[in-house]
């Protein structure tokens, strides 16, 4: 089955950007800002519906960074200073772990526009994966980052179970730190199996679909271990991954092919994406892989909304053509 969806935070629309800037300057009040967020959310949901995406997100327009709802809502976590978000000219606020982390209430329910997600569509939620959360936090409390990773994985499970009860059908765990290794050559196998254990804590036996989305780095570096991770799908950033390397493995999981570049504004050529996708699908033995998703390589928030919108059309177009060919 070939589907398509988005993989992260969407860019704010021009109108919303103006509203947030005006809010910062005291020229717009909370109510007006909220209205601007609602309008933009409706717009980005509508774009996903009109391009017939398989799963719908609310666009995560309020998320200041991938961790922020966790940094703000978990007890034991304090909000830290700005740090660079991998190799981007974008920054996040470091979660500082100052005590035992606890989930007192749903972490993302409040920040998510559930009321605007259409009842007859499949809802997707996106959360930070255990390894990335632990790596990018400043740990002042636990013995080491491994302990933090497992503590967080437990909290993540509670959150995912809560989301399933709210009606979400799909959860993506974003895990850029797992593959972003500009200096180290590759990860040790036992470290990868520990990460697999933490993922088990988070998602094993969860009734909704799960995906571990990697980006900003070469997915082939975590093979073959990643094939045993307890998730339904694995997400691959094809702008960082040497896809010739993927061909050496047989996948028994679904894959999310990050074929559209969220960090470049050039709108992709649909023909080329279809060709590359076909080649990968055939080589990794995707007859066994029950599902293939065509998606952006990471959060589209690195682009202005207009370009992101054009790219969603390319994603949907490529997915449609592949569906026809693989029927």
């Amino acid at each position: 089955m070939i589907c398509c969806y988005l993989t992260g935070i969407l860019p704010r629309t021009k109108e919303l950007i103006e509203a947030t800037r005006a809010y910062d300057r005291g020229r717009v009040n909370e109510k007006e800002l909220e209205k601007a967020f609602e309008n933009a959310t409706l717009k980005v949901i509508d774009t996903q519906l009109s391009t017939e995406f398989s799963y719908i997100t609310d666009g995560m327009l309020k998320w200041q960074d991938l961790f922020r709802p966790f940094t703000e809502n978990l007890s034991g976590v304090r909000i830290g200073g700005l740090a660079r978000w991998f190799n981007n000219n974008t920054f996040y606020r470091k979660p500082i772990i100052v005590g035992d982390i606890r989930r007192k209430k749903s972490i993302i329910e409040e920040i998510t526009y559930i009321k605007y997600l259409p009842k007859n569509s499949l809802w997707k939620a996106i959360l930070p994966a255990p390894y990335t959360f632990a790596q990018l936090s400043e740990n002042q409390f636990y013995t080491d980052k491994i302990e933090l990773m497992f503590k967080y994985a437990k909290i993540l499970r509670e959150e995912i179970e809560g989301l399933a009860r709210l009606g979400f059908k799909y959860v993506q765990l974003s895990d850029p730190a797992l593959v972003y290794k500009p200096i180290a050559t590759s990860m040790a196998s036992d470290e990868l199996s520990l990460i697999g254990e933490a993922l088990k804590v988070a998602v094993k036996g969860i009734i909704i679909k799960t995906c571990l989305q990697t980006f900003f780095g070469d997915f082939s570096k975590i093979l073959p271990e990643a094939l045993d991770f307890p998730v339904d799908h694995l997400g691959i950033d094809l702008y960082e991954t040497n896809f010739e390397k993927l061909k050496e493995y047989s996948f028994e999981k679904g894959v999310a092919l990050g074929l559209v570049d969220s960090r470049g504004s050039l709108v992709e050529n649909e023909d080329e994406l279809v060709t590359v996708a076909k080649e990968i699908m055939e080589s990794i033995d995707s007859s066994k892989a029950c599902e293939v998703f065509i998606c952006p390589n990471c959060d589209l928030e690195f682009l202005p909304w207009k370009r992101a919108e054009e790219k969603t059309k390319v994603i949907s177009g490529a997915a449609k053509r592949l569906k026809e060919e693989f029927l």
Partner: protein, 383 residues
């Protein structure tokens, strides 16, 4: 420079309200005009009546230019009055380090704002054609500064690697789209082509003009230098710096800030014709006085030394992101600590971490005065 511990600011200074509003042709309040007059008096600026008259006039092309000149003059006097040895125009002439260059060059189109963090954004351009030099970037600013000071001048110059890293690369990626199946390789190759075209077509012609009219020292600002810390990208950065400065009869230095110095240190000794690395350390350091243990922020100097960098350091001793003013004794201890580490005091230029554009003029002035006092104290301590 013959003097021990020469002092310098990195580049930018906040733009006063009369500069911002005046340039845009907006009316100024009495308070804003008073602010201009008060600082003018403090800095010993002559003919203030002319400025007041100008600020009350309606908008015109001449007025814009005149306001740039006044604000540049203020900035030069500001640095001189604080006692700096090396000065410039506080980047009053520029809208911002990125937009200033992109808007003055053809081949680019601004696509709109993208998120930087929280509710902060930056206006990002795409390269849509081969970049072309159509007019000078910094020449007028330099000529004006040269006319208006006797001090040594340093021209801050936004580096090509940063310009490329902060710009979408549509033109070159499109051009290579048929040639590479490997998307990663394609992007890197497109980046390389963009970078070296920009250097050849825009950056070097501008440097050439500056050198022709007497620029002796150009500081290449590359905040993005270590954003992509793979060896491959770092080598590209080094190559771009070397190509930028190649063959000019001029002194060059590199400013890089809020970056990964472990990565930069490894590659810094390969930078050719780079007389100085201006780096930030103060913001990483403790505020406790003393040499040795309290100087936690300066430990990475050791890496630069170990990897064989033997040029000068523009040593950041003033944190530009705090309002608290460093006492001269703290500045002194930071300098003396590094003297002890590298053994040669003549390799130190005393600097702010970065440009002071986010601080008020009051705070900036106090910080610079104390930086100068601290350098004097360090000199005395060595005698």
């Amino acid at each position: 420079m013959n003097k021990l511990f020469p002092t310098q600011e990195i580049g930018s200074l906040a733009k006063p309200r009369w500069r911002v509003k005046g340039y845009r042709g907006k009316p100024l309040s009495k308070e804003e005009i008073t602010e201009a007059v008060d600082w003018g008096r403090k800095l010993g600026i002559e003919d203030l009546d002319e400025l007041i008259k100008l600020l009350s006039e309606t908008d015109s092309g001449d007025r814009k230019r005149a306001i740039l000149e006044w604000s540049a003059k203020y900035a030069i006097r500001f640095f001189e009055s604080a006692g700096l040895d090396v000065v410039f125009a506080g980047e009053q002439w520029r809208s911002e380090m990125y937009e200033h260059v992109i808007r003055k060059t053809t081949g680019f189109k601004f696509l709109g704002r993208v998120k930087c963090f929280d509710y902060r954004y930056f206006n990002k351009a795409a390269c849509i054609d081969k970049p072309k030099y159509v007019g000078s970037l910094y020449l007028d600013e330099f000529l004006f500064a040269k006319e208006n000071t006797e001090k040594e001048l340093k021209v801050p110059f936004t580096g090509p690697y940063t310009l490329v890293d902060w710009t979408f690369n549509e033109f070159y990626e499109k051009r290579l789209s048929g040639e590479f199946r490997n998307f990663k390789k394609r992007k890197l190759e497109a980046k390389r082509e963009f970078l070296f075209d920009l250097i050849k077509e825009v950056i070097r012609p501008e440097i050439s003009k500056l050198v022709d009219v007497g620029a002796k020292w150009i500081q290449i600002d590359e905040p993005a230098a270590t954003t992509n810390s793979t060896d491959e990208e770092m080598e590209l950065f080094v190559e771009s710096f070397n190509e930028t400065v190649k063959g000019f009869n001029c002194t060059f230095s590199l400013h890089n800030c809020y970056s990964n110095y472990k990565v930069l240190a490894k590659h810094a000794c390969k930078l050719r014709n780079c007389s100085q690395l201006a780096l930030e350390f103060a913001n990483r350091d403790s505020r406790q006085a003393g040499i040795g243990d309290p100087r936690t922020g300066y430990k990475e100097i050791e890496l630069f030394e170990d990897y064989g960098f033997r040029g000068n350091y523009g040593l950041g001793v003033i944190d530009v992101h705090t309002n608290s003013v460093e006492p001269p004794e703290l500045v002194r201890d930071r300098i003396l600590h590094v003297v002890k580490m590298i053994g040669d005091p003549s390799r130190i230029y005393v600097s702010t971490d970065c440009g002071l554009r986010t601080r008020t003029w009051e705070t900036s002035f106090q910080k610079l005065e104390n930086m100068v006092l601290g350098s004097e104290l360090a000199k005395r301590a060595l005698k």
